[in-house]
């Protein structure tokens, strides 16, 4: 299958690979997907008291499109408020990366990941 230049670029040079300490109160973690399905994404956001995403990291087990979707997502969420980040749609990711129809689920997974990370940080804040 032919990959777009953008997918190849993110795959060759993934941005923001890594891991934050999950116990940090300013870190929200979203882990979505399942190994059995061939993709698992872990997206983490570091959020300021004002609710701005200051940093983001990811690790992804999956195909090149899944890796590229999550890498792109970490670039996009940085500097956004939680509400703004929630507005990111899978279609935007799919369009930016020119994903073919069989790879749309990769961008859906990325959208799920940011939603899960936001839900996690909100739950942490409510609990504290």
């Amino acid at each position: 299958m032919a990959y777009s230049d953008k997918v190849l670029d993110h795959y060759e040079n993934p941005r923001n690979v890594g891991k934050f300490d999950d116990s940090d109160q300013s870190v929200g973690t979203g882990m979505v997907g399942a190994p059995a399905c061939g993709d698992v994404m872990r997206l983490q956001i570091k959020v300021s008291d004002a609710g701005i995403i200051e940093d983001a990291k990811f690790k992804t087990y999956g195909c090149g499109s899944a890796i590229a979707s999550s890498s792109l997502l970490t670039e996009w969420v940085k500097g956004r408020s939680l509400d703004e980040a929630k507005e990111i749609k899978n279609a935007d990711i799919a369009e930016e990366l020119a994903l073919p129809p069989v790879k749309i689920h990769c961008s859906v997974l990325a959208e799920d990941a940011i939603k899960a990370a936001i839900a996690d940080i909100k739950a942490k804040r409510e609990a504290s």
């Binding site: 299958m1 990959y3 795959y11 993934p14 690979v17 891991k19 882990m31 979505v32 997907g33 399942a34 190994p35 059995a36 399905c37 061939g38 993709d39 698992v40 994404m41 872990r42 690790k59 992804t60 087990y61 999956g62 195909c63 090149g64 899944a66 890796i67 069989v102 689920h105 859906v108 997974l109 799920d112």
Partner: protein, 407 residues
Amino acid sequence: MSDLKFPIYLDYSSTSPCDPRVAAKMAECLTLEANFGNPASRSHFFGWKAEEAVETARREVASLLNCDPREVVWTSGATESDNLAIKGVAHFHSKKGKHIITSMIEHKAVLDSCRQLEREGFELTYLEPSDTGVITADAVEKAIRPDTILVSLMHVNNEIGVINDIESIGKVTRENKVLFHVDAAQSTGKVVIDLETMQVDLMSLTAHKTYGPKGIGALFVRRKPRVRIVPQIHGGGHERGMRSGTLPTHQIVGMGEAFRLAHEEMEADNRRILSLRTRLLSGLEDMEEVYVNGALDARVAANLNISFNFVEGESLMMALRDLAVSSGSACTSASLEPSYVLRAIGRNDELAHSSLRITIGRFTTEEEIDYAVGKIREAVGKLRELSPLWDMYKDGVDLDQVQWAAH
């Protein structure tokens, strides 16, 4: 300095290039000056000459299998041969019984032919392989019923390269008066086939995995005891009525030459290819969490099917763009189902998604293998650094205990 050419072809079980000696023979059967005639033309020199070439090729094929040339029926390839054998037997013997035995890890040409027969009212038993990928004669015997008419099993599995004991299974089917069809698409030139000692009734063959051209194959149909089948393609009554259609002289000549070379060079080829596979495996096996899929000792020399845990196969292939290999991961397919063969031998989805099939052939060099080893190690290392599963494994998390949000 290096004379490597990229991409490096390591997918010989998918198809092999024609041997140049094969291509040269084929080129002699195309133009006006050459042997272009219709082998069925009985009235002139062009037909006679073409027929002679076809019959020479038939003898070459028969000689590799140790059978009578009259038992070789030309087809378009193993898929057609599988269809003809399975449906042909089923339709001829449906009054005798409607039960057929096959296995869960057959090629789709067999499985889909069987599915079609199920729609027509036949009953199928799909044998489960052992975790090494083998179907035993014992398992076949236990599955035979009074109404069983056919057992269809592959000689060598296309994904894991594991070899079935055709001789033992043939004894069981013959004793029980059940016909035995073997798909040998992956075994010609790799394993000795002797139809004098193997009690096989029908055998599917193809040229293009044995350095011959695509689009040509054959079905062995035993004469003693005589096997009857219903033809699936009707027309001019070629091939003793079993398969109509003008014989493609150039394709047939190509298959004949390819099988002649296989007969002559199998031993030397196998020795060299095995040493390359050993080199490949020893370059990879000291890595963490690496698993060979299927029995290593009952496998053709050309095949290595290996899983790199916590790395997804398609992204691995993307990192290996200058190697032509295949993967058991099916991320590209709509179903997202990983290899049914690896699942059937008990591999979990993760390991099935993490698999590479590397198949070596006549033209593979040591230098290519060394390059592949280096590339694979580098890619697996890089992708594991990217993998949350690898992180969790390193942190001692039991991945089977994690509640995944399946999607």
